[in-house]
């Protein structure tokens, strides 16, 4: 079965938090090369690994992984905030 491509924000989040591939890999228990494969979107992680990354970055899984190409985090947060403001206004 050919699986579809999963997009992610691991590279952005890692750089934002100033964490090396090795440090991130050691924290979640994988080889640092696997982080490279994940960042280049050449490998789709298992659900377990996706949750480990989500726990590490303290973000919901859907903020890190998507089946659609990901917009910048700032745009997504803005949209999220806009949606919340609309709900509050209602």
């Amino acid at each position: 079965m050919k699986s579809r491509k999963i997009f992610n924000r691991i590279a952005v989040l890692r750089r934002e938090r100033n964490v090396s591939r090795k440090e991130l890999a050691d924290s979640i228990g994988v080889n640092f090369q696997t982080i490279g494969y994940l960042e280049r979107e050449e490998y789709n992680p298992s659900l377990d690994l996706a949750f480990k990354l989500s726990e590490y970055f303290n973000l919901p899984v859907e903020m890190i992984f998507s089946t659609q190409p990901m917009k910048p985090l700032s745009v997504e947060l803005k949209n999220l905030k806009g949606g919340n403001d609309e709900k509050i206004a209602e």
Binding site: R21, Q33, T34
Partner: protein
């Protein structure tokens, strides 16, 4: 990167061709086609095997990867090794059958220690060879 991959592939080709050359010389001597002194020329393919082994499997740590216990590998590595082992199993079976058939056909009888050693090496090196051939060479920074 392309150069690195091409070097790795070249090393793989040299490694297996050296083995074939080694076996050819050995069996031609055994069959009496070449005199016994020709066995000394096997030093050339033997050195080819040793040097190309380092480039193809040693430097890239692929030998270590395919010979590690599953508990020491992460999920990507496990998947990689599993796929390579599946493919190598099919290739190895075909090579084994062809070898046994050829040996019987040319009248060498059952396979001997030298060929058994080659098949053992092949069984152990094929998964790493498949990964080395297919995988892009990427130098990851930590």
């Amino acid at each position: 990167m392309k150069k690195l991959q091409s070097n790795r592939r070249k090393a793989l080709v040299i490694n297996y061709l050296s083995f074939i050359l080694f076996l050819s010389i050995f069996y031609l001597v055994k069959a009496g086609v070449f005199p016994l002194i020709y066995l000394s020329t096997n030093l050339l393919p033997l050195s080819g095997i040793v040097f190309s082994f380092h480039t193809a499997f040693g430097k890239s740590h692929l030998w270590k990867l395919t010979h590690s216990a599953y508990k020491d590998l992460d999920e990507r590595e496990t998947e990689l090794v599993f796929k390579a082992t599946t493919i190598s199993y099919s290739i190895f079976t075909i090579i084994c059958l062809v070898m046994i058939y050829v040996f019987n056909f040319i009248g060498f009888g059952p396979i001997d220690v030298v060929l058994a050693a080659f098949l053992l090496y092949l069984a152990h090196s094929l998964p790493a060879a498949i990964i080395a051939w297919n995988q892009k060479v990427i130098i990851e920074t930590e």
